[in-house]
Amino acid sequence: MNLSTSWIIASKELKIFRRKKSIIYGTILFPLLLDVLFPLVIIYAEGKNGGIPGSYLPGLLNAFSFFFVIAAAVLPSAIASYAIVGEKVEKSLEPLLATPTTDGEILLGKSIAAFIPPIAASWAGLSIFMVLMDRLTSNTLGYLIYPDWSIGVIFLLIPIAAILSIELSVIASSRVSDVRSANSIGGLMFIPFMVIYLAGEIGVITLNTGNLLIISGAILIVDLALFYFSVATFRREEILTKWK
């Protein structure tokens, strides 16, 4: 596999995404909304009940930060679905497949393109979240909670979750023939991460550094398995002859 070929494809995709306002807004909006919403919750609680007790804050902020992992899992599906099914819909896949590129190079290029914007947006959103939360909670806690190990693991979990989402979208894209269906299937990535979040909320698991590391490791293993599966399901012949 030639990485430079994949990068050429990724660069082209990124150039197109930059010109599609819906993709830009869609990518930025979710993390930005979290950056607005969570500080408002803290400010509201402070005004209403004299603030959240310091002992609850680290757990609550961990739970909040997990939403950025959910964002990273949801956001790439739209881009990844567009990158593959969109090409077929616009009939641009055939000339691309006729170039001296392998299926793996095409898939990797499109995956890189689907990976970068959501990761950049989620990491930027999480960084803003850290700064805002430090400012809003330092008085109650008496120290700056961020950076700490748990947020470090969240930073790590974000790309791992995004990769999972991209791979599932690629597999979905190889099976369906329109962007909306691929996007809907890819969007289901929201569910497993929401389940993890709710499990944390009802006390089934604690979203602490150790458990987040275990979750990251487990998803990473799934990522690797799905990579081979997604390459295997991407068959240029099937795409050309069966997609309508």
Binding site: K91, S92, A98, P100, T101, T102
Partner: protein
């Protein structure tokens, strides 16, 4: 001359449907080969097989020195070919220049090669002024021209074109045809799928007529000669029963009458025309004009396609 496209019993089936059956083709270097056939005849399937986009069911095919169907050769084949698919498939959100530059990069052209070829082809196709305009805003004709430039950006040895003038207005179709003729002058090997008989006749060195199976192959002239009989048209002052009866006695081929004009389908008009004229004169007829015409490529094509159906 070396065969750069060579197929032997090339077959492709989709389930129970046979799209291409036992295709035997030899296209030589520098040749413009036209592939004629009705919709669903297997033209696009053939091009896709030869471009290593879909697999063959059986038979063999070689492009230059590489074997179609061999995984290791597929990339090498795609390096030396250019494809203009039936749907142009440009990136609407990229400019004309960016579209070509992307494909140039994928084909491992150096920056200077890309710059040079992009300028050269956009100039040749009259699109240089539009190089920074988004391809999505182009007319059908402009998009088609850009798709041709895209297929040529890496100077391929063989150019596959699938219906390059279909859906184009006459002016754009003419520009595309002229460009293909320009490529022909440059000795580029071109494999042209087309519905357009006139286009095939004007552009192609040889033509293959496909209707799942290869029905005929040869130069346009060969096809006209071999498939259809030649016609003799005789304009008389008046046609009467005496003349017709005397002509029937000659046991000629098919005779048709349109008022005072008689048309004969003959295998060898130069041998049979004097006999016919003599018979008419002896029957009291007055011959005004005699003309010989060959059956057209269109007639040959329709005859072959209808035979299959």
């Amino acid at each position: 001359m070396t065969a750069v496209i060579d197929t032997e019993n090339l077959t492709r089936k989709f389930g129970n449907l046979t799209a291409v059956e036992n295709l035997n083709l030899h296209v030589e270097e520098g040749e413009v080969f036209g592939f004629l056939g009705p919709n669903g005849a297997g033209k696009t399937t053939t091009v896709r097989m030869l471009c290593c986009l879909i697999s063959k069911t059986s038979g063999t095919a070689r492009i230059a020195d590489y074997e179609v169907g061999n995984e290791a050769d597929a990339l090498k084949i795609r390096k030396i070919i250019g494809l203009v698919p039936d749907n142009v498939g440009l990136y609407d959100d990229l400019t004309a220049y960016e579209n070509l530059d992307f494909y140039g990069k994928l084909s491992r052209c150096t920056e200077s090669q890309r710059k040079e070829n992009i300028k050269r082809f956009l100039m040749m196709l009259g699109l240089w002024e539009k190089k920074d305009v988004m391809a999505g805003t182009f007319s059908k004709g402009m998009k088609q021209k850009l798709a041709i430039a895209r297929a040529l950006i890496h100077d391929p040895e063989i150019l596959f074109m699938d219906e390059p003038t279909v859906n184009l207005d006459p002016e754009s179709a003419k520009t595309v045809r002229e460009f293909i003729l320009e490529l022909k002058r440059e000795k580029k090997t071109i494999f042209l799928n087309t519905h357009n008989l006139d286009e095939a006749q004007r552009i192609c060195d040889r033509i293959g007529i496909l209707n799942t199976k290869l029905m005929a192959i040869g130069t346009p002239e060969d096809l006209e000669h071999s498939i259809g009989a030649r016609r003799t048209e005789i304009q008389l002052e008046q046609v009467n029963d005496v003349i017709l009866n005397s002509l029937k006695k000659l046991s000629l081929g098919k005779i048709s009458r349109d008022e005072s004009k008689l048309t004969f389908e003959l295998a060898d008009p130069y041998k049979e025309n004097p006999v016919i004229v003599r018979a008419i004169v002896e029957a009291g007829g007055n011959v005004q004009t005699v003309s010989v015409s060959r059956s057209s490529l269109e007639e040959a094509y329709l005859k072959l396609v209808r035979e299959k159906e």
